[in-house]
């Protein structure tokens, strides 16, 4: 499987997940979007040494994974992109910040180690939150919600159209890459002599295709307005979910639940 085929596989996997049914899938997309943004903001606002405060934030994604029945494996597969950069930045912390923050018997834990762990956890938590949003919300519903949140029509329609064509273009390039590699066995990528023509040819064809696409849109009655099939109203339950989750996040941000729990056991 080449890179593009893998990308197509990932896209269809997300589409399948989003098409599922569960109480989380049934929530209004705007409520889910806002809750996710609040969760990420609260998660990011924890101090870089506040590992203890940050840990309880794991409960929300864990609960959503369970209620929506979403595969955790698919989510963690996506970590391969996020973690390397976060780690590249965080790995320097233990070398530069050697202030001892905690003494566990003979083991002294430095501030750098704590801040590195906090950074990585933040990375994982934020990824889980956005993954859960997309795994429980189809793109059309999300775009309808974005329109309701007053995101300009041009951007939302462009997002929807591009998403539709990402599949088509990726498939075409996957076929072209496969054909190229079969004719150039043992070669790692595209040779410099074909750098321009490889993508250029498809680009020229795509420009013609865009014209045909526009004609067909006009024939189907496109008048610079896109109508969404998803007309689900924002119900009281959605507002309740949004408010309850946001309050819990703020509570976890301000009350040190982990320490309180711990102090009931350790004196």
């Amino acid at each position: 499987m080449n890179k593009m085929q893998r990308a197509m596989h990932e896209l269809s996997e997300m589409d399948e997940l989003a098409a599922g049914s569960s109480p989380v899938h049934a929530l209004h997309p705007a409520a889910k979007l806002i809750t996710t943004v609040v969760y990420i903001l609260v998660t990011l606002s924890f101090d870089k040494y506040d590992l203890g405060g940050l840990v309880p934030m794991v409960l929300w994604p864990v609960m959503l994974f369970q209620i929506s029945g979403t595969s955790v494996k698919t989510c963690f597969y996506k970590l391969r992109i996020v973690l390397p950069l976060v780690m590249a930045v965080g790995l320097f912390n233990p070398f530069f910040d050697k202030t001892v923050l905690l003494q566990l018997g003979s083991l002294s834990v430095s501030g750098g180690v704590v801040s590195m762990l906090t950074l990585m956890l933040k990375g994982v938590f934020c990824l889980m939150a956005s993954f859960l949003l997309m795994a429980t919300t189809p793109i059309d519903s999300l775009c309808a919600a974005l329109r309701k949140l007053r995101v300009p029509k041009l951007i939302v329609t462009l997002l929807l159209l591009t998403y539709r064509y990402v599949g088509v273009m990726t498939e075409e390039l996957a076929v072209m890459t496969e054909a190229y590699s079969l004719r150039a066995p043992g070669q790692k990528g595209i040779h410099i002599s074909a750098w321009g023509s490889f993508l250029g040819q498809l680009l020229l064809r795509s420009m013609d295709r865009a014209q045909e696409l526009y004609s067909s849109m006009l024939l189907r009655g496109y008048r610079q307005e896109f109508y969404y099939a998803d007309h689900r109203a924002f119900r009281r339950g959605d507002a309740l979910y949004m408010l309850a989750c946001s309050s819990v996040f703020l509570l976890l941000r301000n009350v040190r639940i982990a320490e309180l729990l711990g102090s009931t056991i350790v004196r």
Binding site: L44, D50, L51, S130, M134, L158, G196, L203, M207
Partner: protein
């Protein structure tokens, strides 16, 4: 160069969202005023193509490694800066939402670092001036040379700006302990090489488009007659050497003085450089009653924790009870998983 959410503090992420949002608003306004509805499908299809094109491996001759394309310069040369910027936003949004490349909160910063510089700085300060200039003379071959020069200079400069912004945003967020100067010295040379390769790929694609359909390119007049022959290889070689010299010089300067910015602002009294810009680190900033009041208000309303105090007792949060509590939380999480699994099994049986 896609930044993850974890690398940004909420205040920095929000600022970048506002900055990118403003530029997006202006772009939408401009496109609305132009009133070209047929441009929308062109933008969508080109954006989808660039998205897919970013996954192609281009072999770099003689090295065994391969390069990639980011696409900001390519899109603005084909669609114009505003349409290119919006297309880049959509590409970055799809990458962040479906592939976890970047983050939802970091999207504003990523748009700024990759789309704004590539499309606006790249177009208005590099592509357009070079294409409208008389560099390399008249005729078709001079035009080709200008396309190559604009692509390479554009990609190198915009990637350097983007990389510098990544460092600035991460440092302002207080995420890394890596000194600012060292971080810059690490990022800039890497992105110089990436920018060079990307510039060459962009140039190759744009040259191909120029040969077949020159009317598709912005600011390019289709030249009828063939001008004096000028070797493209020579242009590329000269640009590569210039970029390497400039980049190498800059990185040497940065690494020999790792805290260059701080040093330049505040001086280093121990080393005898008390002068520089003559600023006193303690009294840095404006001192007035209004500023004090603003500071007090900011302190009260600030959502962003102060990252500066490493030994803050309340911030440490790593007491033994904290650890035990975290373990309990982990236990609760496992319990939720088990309960969920139990109910699902029951439902399916």
């Amino acid at each position: 160069m896609h930044m993850a959410d974890a690398l940004l503090a909420p205040a920095v992420a929000a600022t970048m969202y506002v900055a990118s949002g403003t530029v997006a608003g202006v772009s939408v306004h401009k496109l609305k005023k132009d009133d070209e509805p047929q441009k929308l499908p062109v933008m969508a299809v080109t954006a989808a193509l660039v998205f897919a094109g970013q996954m192609i491996n281009y072999t770099i001759p003689g090295t065994g490694s391969s390069g990639h394309m980011c696409g900001g310069m390519l899109l603005s040369a084909l669609l114009g800066p505003q349409a290119g910027f919006l297309s880049m936003i959509v590409i970055l949004a799809i990458q962040c939402l479906f592939f976890a490349d970047g983050g939802l909160m970091a999207l504003g910063a990523n748009i700024w670092n990759m789309a704004f510089y590539g499309c606006f700085v790249g177009y208005y300060l590099i592509w357009r001036p070079i294409m409208q200039s008389r560099w390399f003379g008249e005729g078709k071959s001079a035009q080709r040379a200008r396309i190559v020069a604009a692509s390479i200079i554009g990609c190198v400069v915009t990637l350097q700006l983007g990389a510098f912004s990544v460092v600035l945003e991460t440092s302002l967020s207080g995420i890394t302990e890596l000194p600012f100067g060292a971080f810059v010295a690490l990022m800039q040379p890497i992105h110089l090489a990436i920018g060079l390769v990307e510039g060459l790929i962009t140039a190759a694609v744009l040259l191909f488009v120029y040969e077949s359909r020159p009317e598709l390119l912005q600011c390019v007049e289709p030249a009828e007659r063939e001008g004096s022959k000028r070797s493209l290889k020579a242009v590329v070689a000269i640009l590569a050497v210039v970029a390497l010299v400039v980049g190498g010089g800059l990185s040497l300067l940065a690494s020999s003085n790792p805290d260059g910015l701080e040093w330049a602002l505040f001086g280093n009294a121990e080393e005898g450089y008390a002068e520089n810009m003559g600023l006193d680190e303690e009294d840095f900033g404006v001192s007035s009653k209004a500023a004090d009041t603003a500071g007090a208000i900011q302190e009260k309303t600030s959502f962003l924790p102060d990252y500066a105090f490493a030994n803050n007792d309340t911030a440490a949060g790593t007491t033994v009870s904290g650890i035990v509590g975290s373990a309990l939380v982990a236990g609760v999480a496992v319990l939720i998983c088990l309960t969920g699994g139990f109910f699902r099994k029951k439902k399916s049986s």
